[in-house]
Symmetry: C2
Subunit: 109 residues, 2 copies
DNA sequence: TTTTAATATTGCAATATTACGATAAATATA
DNA sequence: TATATTTATCGTAATATTGCAATATTAAAA
């Protein structure tokens, strides 16, 4: 095998898993944090920020974009990538909701 | 290759990536949601909840446990798994922090 | 002690991910 | 137009993940 059985889970579950999976690599976390840090969205120099080759960064950016975590605008011959706030909000809400539900329970362990 | 270059990233980045990676599969999201839903922590019947074989569930549980998202207590010949609230809090805080920082910026795209 | 029940581990096949060199594509600049 | 710059894609090797059948382990119950 090797392929996830996504058909058997709800759209919401698959949606959250898509977002968390995309963030499940330190390089992609680092890219998100870099995008948060810089004021402008000119992101061509992520390559200089991370110890990875340009094709590898490009691939990571593609995965973040496919998952909906970042957006990309062509800006001359460079590309302006930036965070899609909606995706972050979705994750924030998701974990806040779980936290709230856990507060109401007395866990056994 | 195939192995992530974890050495080049910060502990915090690797820590978040470990948590999100563990959640990056719909079955593991479903397990977490099941653990949130049930009042008691008697979790032996996760196998009946999901369309996956017992060894597969056991493997997913192991990954969630290794990442620190769930804890497991031996309870007779069954095992009581439950969510580790600290891990969820960590994720909630992380995304809340990013959201807050994004509010203060005017994104270009 | 034998049996039963609940989980974990092993071994394996199919597939996915990670990383990068080489190269292509697209656009700006000289 | 030729060249430089930026980013994407292709091809490939190494490794990781997913899933399950078979089997082992562990502890309760008979």
């Amino acid at each position: 095998m090797g392929a996830s059985k996504t058909d058997f889970f709800t759209d919401k579950q698959n949606g959250i898993a898509t977002l968390t999976k995309a963030l499940g690599h330190p390089a992609r976390i680092a890219i998100i944090e870099y995008l948060v840090k810089v004021d402008t969205c000119i992101c061509g120099d992520i390559v200089n920020e991370l110890p990875l080759a340009q094709p590898t960064i490009s691939q990571h950016l593609k995965e973040l974009k496919n998952a909906g975590l970042i957006k990309g605008n062509v800006e001359g011959n460079a590309i302006c990538y930036c965070i899609d706030e909606k995706a972050i909000s979705k994750l924030q809400d998701y974990f806040a909701n779980i936290s709230a539900k856990l507060q109401k329970k007395n866990m056994c362990c």
